[in-house]
Symmetry: C2
Subunit: 229 residues, 2 copies
DNA sequence: GTCTATATGACGATAGAC
DNA sequence: GTCTATCGTCATATAGAC
């Protein structure tokens, strides 16, 4: 748990290179997919330490030892899940936060995409949140290379938009974290939100109201361009 | 862990009413304070499941069994820590988000206070985040009564400010969650922020830049009043 | 390749000496 | 009131039968 992962990636599935293990067969792929899906649910519910391999096995409908056979240790399984999540996590920004778009259109599309992620894959969002809360030891290399470059590209986009007078100058890192924290709250803090609204679980209308609130904060900011000219 | 707590509070320290336990003595108070402080650090680092009573005992400088003697089970200790945190958590809003203040002054003071909390008690913020991620089972009653009323008071404040044309109409629940998620990110997501900035830990300048970004989003929103009149 | 049965170790909790 | 030594439980991991 405290061990540092190899710098190449999030800790890719080690089992494929294990000595003595032949090529993946047909049943293996189905089992692997079921285990990964179950792991995402269970890790998302309880975090790494709180989750037990037993529960993942039950949820996936496979015998417990098969998980170790396919994925090695619990931590290696966890890293496989993390890697899947991060691949998804970065996608939307390259579609929306690019200089070719109008600023308002870009922000709106991106924020909608992030809210959709919170609604459709809340477990994935929570696993990421747990990992970051723990100090992000398993993904530090990824954050300080891939994610940092990702933010740098957004900074160039904002720079262009600012020169074109579509938005005021702003610290790009902190604007991105503001957007991420607000949108991810609808997955990570959903228990708190639903307790306050009184709804047992978050309803579509909650996501819609949250989306509108975030849009008004961020798009309203773009309007400030006149005041600061 | 899955058991529901009595509806009276977060699950107050049960040890005081234990049969056969005399009144608290003098050394007890020092030990209890040390244990609570250590528990806040350790639970904040690893969450409930990830933390071990052993580590808390080491950190507090007391033998492990004393923790059980003072606080009963690990979960009861955890609930004591949670209760301490929540008391602090609500304080600032009653100082700042009240109709007597100007809207801009109120939002600025409140956001500064929340950022100060993230900087000064990051472990407390993280414990709360872990608990909410887990589904908030230990604090559900508290969230659906105390916190809900707390939000309702903010809603009345915003209503007044809106009538006085100091800010546009907005959904108060989602505005509060936007502010909470943005400010708490500087404790809960600090590992991610520092990985992106390249600083080993968050520096004062990071908190300041974050504060300015959040202020511009929220105070800029107040300016929108003219557009929507 | 797959699964049953078991080894190993860590943790929470307590009994009982001081 | 305080602490040493220990018990029972449960989870990860593996050895070995099929």
């Amino acid at each position: 748990m405290t061990e540092t992962l190899p710098p190449s990636s999030v800790g890719r599935a080690v089992h494929r290179t294990r000595p003595g293990t032949p090529r993946p067969g047909i049943p293996r792929q189905a089992a692997e997919a079921a285990i990964l899906a179950a792991a995402e649910r269970v890790f998302g519910l309880h975090g790494f330490r709180g989750a037990s391999v037993n529960e993942i096995a039950r949820e996936a409908g496979v015998p417990k030892p098969n998980i170790h056979y396919y994925f090695g240790t619990k931590e290696e399984l966890y890293c496989s899940v993390l890697e899947n999540i991060m691949t998804f996590w970065l996608r939307d920004a390259d579609d929306w936060l690019v200089p070719e778009r109008r600023a308002r259109e870009g922000f709106e599309g991106y924020i909608r995409a992030k809210m959709a992620f919170s609604r459709e894959r809340p477990d994935a969002s929570r696993i990421f949140a747990y990992e970051v809360l723990q100090g992000a030891g398993n993904i530090h290399h990824y954050l300080s290379t891939t994610l940092r470059e990702h933010v740098a590209r957004r900074a160039r986009t904002f720079e262009v938009w600012h020169r074109e007078r579509q938005m005021p100058a702003i610290d790009p890192v902190h604007l991105m974290f503001a957007i991420w924290s607000m949108t991810q709250a609808y997955a990570d803090m959903s228990a708190q939100i639903s307790a306050v609204t009184g709804h047992a679980v978050l309803h579509d209308s909650d996501f819609e109201a949250g989306l509108q609130t975030i849009l008004r904060l961020v798009l309203g900011f773009c309007n400030d361009i006149e005041d600061r000219a």
